[in-house]
Symmetry: D2
Subunit: 426 residues, 4 copies
């Protein structure tokens, strides 16, 4: 299955009757706030989010997994799936590989395939939370934090190997997520675990090419249920500082305790120049890995409000790496990803509509009610016509979910790959 | 300070340049879903929310309180303040009195004053969480649940007194919120506390006129920090069933443990015909009592989605009593209430835009992605023009916050009442 | 591997030097409170907890699973493992089977095997949260709640089948845990889901023999991350009431939102005669399924305080079914279960030491500080000598973990079964 | 009311019948682990905890306050109350003053009074969360973080004033708790608020004498309900590092989001040499400020396990300042404090019983079950005889609560001060 320019042209031929009028209205309304509609459309069009290679098949829980037909079973098929999403949306122009699930056999061929889909290789991800078949040492009791020298060393070597693989593909960053922690009080000495982790990360950092960045994730719990070595942004930030200038904290939206003010963490990290990347998803309870924007769209908007502010005011912070990290337990993974991409761009677009000057003035006046009015004026604006304009301008389809369905993409994939194919991953 | 029809006519003379075009677009878009715009406007215009008499002054926390100038210090002034809000919005056509803070001196005069503002008397509220000056028995260790017979009896008698007061004003329901609980394990026998509470509520229920309803609130914690006798909807529902047909559960949005699925509780109660009333506010952590819609607007929409469904499909459930129950620690209370009213009507309006037939069909198909699309299509619609239309049609101002400011209402109130006046309440 | 009476006699030959003195001191101290030590020992000795058949192998998370050598791969081996635990502790005299993982091939042989280990068949458990190979209908979108008639009917039939299997083994109760729910707002109509679930449960209830009980679990989330049909005790209680007298709520300690006061739920259910059973485990974040007593031992004590009170004062409530429901991700499952059994009996023993008369008097006096002193006096008492006495008196070993290790049970199991054997289950 | 040595001698004359036998047994049992009983007794006896001057009266909530008779209404009376507690327990040998509630009139007299009670002046506390009568600038919208220069400067000056007061009394540290934050999204620019706070703290730091320490508290919410400027340990740690070597993080047990692993934070801070002080209390939901050890005694033990480890292994960390920070809403404040002191020493004593060598070995072996056994062996030990021995050895009473009651201290205080006296504070 391949989506052609002809497909897109045909799909976009029939236009929504009110689309132009909506754009016109938006132009008028934004104009009153001194915001140029076309600028917003351009920014939205440029906003690209990486798709992780493990997110193209059905996800599951410890209670089971319900497969989805036509899952990609090779790296090539995964790239094809991202290619489909990108063709429809022009917003998913990168892939984030997970090693060892996605080690290329033929680098040249893989790079050409990616290029044919207009897909870049973003951050590579290591895996030291599972034991691979034939591994000499186990990660049952930790990897970079382990008190067992051989396990720790194996985990460091694996990360160095991942860097090498990524380097051949054009990646420029490594994301380290550690499951390391403990299930029971007393199981691990907190200080020793932290010291080992810092030492291991420094070795990995030292093994990166000079133009690479290291992204350090944090997470309070799961799969360990008493403690995680890197339990919060503070620990990640401390470790990133210990590693060096090109080490950063990576924020995954699902990796927080109940009620955490995530947007404040984002603001602090950008102010310190240490926000390296972002994993998007949504959740109600824990690391639920639901479709972006499906549970707390206002929280997502508030986060984007800080991201937009930081990108405009914090030159000390590099442009962050964006990635979707969701699990697709009951939806078609490709539809789920399209909905996530849409939600991200909606949040970004609405954040761009905040009247920053007026907000700043209201903040200085401590005019709290007005501050809220200004933020919500942006949030309540229906920006879907802006997203549509950005897509059409980029050569994508006007309505991706409808297009995906009218093209019967899933049926085509099932025809090609069968119903029993299974993607590697969680 | 009184807002006249002339004020309103003047304020509405200059119209937003894009307002009519927005309405036209909405009409076209909703028409495609088979929804009539004017029907929605009418429903929104009819939706009235009660203002509690204790919400017109500055709120505070245990760490202190920052006063607001021009606070109403009498029941008459409180009604005047609600009158101002109602004149501006035509959505606050009721007051909910708190006894003993607001016992009328002259019932006839108070009723005439309310009538002059077009304000009805909604549910009355009792107070057995504080000791009043000169009270014979203390509620330090509980009221309706108390093991001290005299305290319990005093609390029952107080509630019967509140009913009498409400009856003279035209109220038709009593809301009972109990602080009763315990701060430490072992302090209270759970079963004994529950038995006493049930007995007390039955006595109160028996003392109500035949056309009255009893609303029983629940809350997991605060001001008791180990347990609350009516800790959740299940306990409230059990007690309401024990009392009789006209006893109902009342849901306050802030009275839940982290991550509770409140909309599911709403659906269950309406299915059982036991949702009596609703207290609106918003919160991030606990019973924060923030402006409605300021933190989790999507959750509010999902709740209204169930309320709309229930009002259409559950004739067994009475029309619920709506009230705002927020605390105004740092905003002008009147502005805060106007923002809350706006947020409630936005949630209601968007919920009315859900294509219920299409949603039902998608649910039967287990087309999860489509279900989400249908819900979010409604939610993402900018309905502010609908609210404006509803207001204009009802004789309110087009833009209440702007009007409130351009009329300099707060300055006028400070001129009238001074900066040191203080509202009774929390 | 079989533990003989000779093993036990040998192990108990050498006695802890201070054991008798500790017992003597306890006798003196309890005597002052009017509590007879031997009565406590007898009650502790009689307290038996069922082991679920799925808890004898390594557990895992969605991120992976680390196997344990010598796992039981047949129902016979699982019974043997429980037999080992019971021989060492004399506190695990029952098994709770999970169907379809543990369908007996030869009922007579299985019953004889269980009898040889002195093990009874407690509640049987159905499974409608996974699709079995060859199943006609999927539970991907729910089972008892499903809008798909065939899925719903299949789930009902499965439960009826489980009852038949249990009936042949001497079980007298069925535990229903439903994963049913939804991952996204809008996915399922709450009311329809509840109605289907109630109908399905009534059919199952009608299919039980007259002396059977139905236990209905509740859980707020996981594996569904937006809503669960039976989200809390209130919903379970409502459904149990709808089914009939022999339907009860079952409490699993891990199935609550953060900070829930579980002991209060226990008290309410016992007062209403509706606490059917209990699943023990411990957790810090969610349904972590950790070793009982490893995280919040005081909360466990408070729960047992209510259980002891209810068993003494609530004849309307049947004797509850006790079961351990933990997952053993990084500990030897048998050691984990022994630690859990020990923790349960410690909580029970300390709860038996509460001076109920003095507590009642202090509660009536509202002497809050004294209430706490009385509870904590019991909790702070070191009751391990009591557990030891209960074990010795029952023919178990004085120190089960030490015995398990000195007998090298795990090595023997690995020798018998190999390192690659794998238990069915999660 | 003054407790004399004769009182104490009389009270201790009659001894608990089993006390000596219990001590003997403990000696034998600890001896087997290589722990010397007398060493433990000595350490416990030396452990002193400061009492804050605001904790001697009844606390309250935003819903009200129930007074307690005989409350101290002057600083002198507050010192007398602490003197009573210290006489009974010999564990409360310090006071922590709150300014402006407790500004001494006569420094010399106050110092002599404190000395007569054997009480030192520990950290002083500033207050920029309330507006004092006659203050020129308001803290309604923040203090050290404020965008209003005059408010910020006033707050800095107040802190410098507090330092001067403390310096005259012999205090050597300042604790800064900030309520600063916001109630609504958009109200405050996160980065600006952080920058102002850092600048202000640096000015305060610069104003401290060279031998003083600065303790910076953190708290996620309350009294602000959307964000707090110093929301977590990571932010506090960052600010402390920015200020300098003598700036530290202070941990208050109630200032965390649900399920936070506090002991891990303690371990990290001590490893980094940045744990300055500790505020003890207990909670189930938020900053409930309940009696220490009343809700989660095992969590307290785990924290003390890290504190003991850190005090033994982290010379880079200064000896922390200990303080009780609880609110006494329904208990006699003095009894509440005595119970808290007891709970703290119980946690400390049991933490001292952990066999650190065996634990370290088990951790290196990843023998998770044994790690738990070792920790819980200490925790389950009844150490109350050790506390009693420590008290008797120090000249305190054997049983403080019983002594407090038999001496009828509260009646005496009511006789002296009346029932209407009211302590300043929350």
């Amino acid at each position: 299955m391949k989506i052609t320019q002809q497909h897109i042209a045909d799909l976009n031929k029939v236009q929504d009757a009110t689309y132009q009028a909506e754009l016109g209205l938006l132009e008028a309304k934004l104009g009153r706030k001194g915001i140029n509609l076309q600028d917003v459309i351009n920014k939205v069009a440029q906003f690209q989010v990486a798709i992780p290679s493990w997110a193209l098949g059905a996800g599951g829980t410890r209670f089971g997994r319900f497969s989805y037909g036509g899952e990609p079973s090779t790296l090539e098929q995964k790239l094809d799936d991202i290619g489909l999403i990108h063709a429809l949306t022009k917003s998913a122009g990168a892939v984030s590989l997970h090693i060892p699930w996605d080690i290329p056999q033929d680098y040249k061929a893989i790079k050409e395939l990616a290029q044919s889909h207009d897909i870049l290789f973003d951050a590579v991800n290591s895996n030291t939370f599972q034991d691979q078949a034939g591994a000499k040492n186990s990660y049952k009791f930790g990897s970079l934090c382990s008190s067992v020298d051989a396990s720790r060393e194996q985990a460091v070597q694996h990360n160095l190997e991942v860097i090498k693989i990524g380097d051949q593909l054009g990646s420029k960053s490594l994301t380290v997520w550690l499951a390391d922690g403990s299930n029971f009080p007393g199981q691990r000495n907190f200080q020793t675990g932290l010291i080992h982790t810092e030492d291991s990360l420094k070795k990995i950092y030292a093994g990166m090419p000079d133009d690479w960045k290291l992204f350090i994730e944090y997470k309070p719990y799961e799969p360990n249920f008493y403690s995680t070595v890197i339990q919060d942004w503070g620990t990640s930030f401390m470790l990133a500082n210990a590693c060096g200038e090109r080490a950063y904290t990576l924020v995954d939206l699902g990796h927080h305790l109940p009620n955490t003010n995530i947007e404040q963490i984002v603001a602090t990290l950008m102010y310190k120049g240490k926000l390296g990347g972002f994993h998007f998803n949504d959740s109600k309870y824990g690391d639920d890995d639901l479709t972006v924007g499906s549970i707390k769209p206002y929280a997502l908007f508030l986060i984007f409000n800080e991201l937009v502010y930081g990108m405009q005011n914090n030159p000390q912070n590099p442009y962050p790496a964006w990635m979707i990290d969701a699990s697709h337990n009951i939806k078609d993974p490709l539809e789920d990803l399209i909905q996530s991409l849409e939600a991200i761009r909606i949040a970004y677009a609405t954040a761009l509509l905040v009247d920053q000057d007026a907000l700043k003035a209201a903040q200085l006046d401590n005019d709290v009610a007005l501050c809220q009015e200004l933020l919500q004026d942006a949030y309540r604006t229906d920006v879907r016509a802006i997203l549509k304009a950005a897509r059409i301008q980029s050569g994508a389809v006007a309505d991706p979910i409808a297009a995906y369905r009218s093209l019967a993409v899933r049926s085509a994939l099932i025809n090609e790959r069968g119903t029993a194919s299974k993607a590697t991953g969680l």
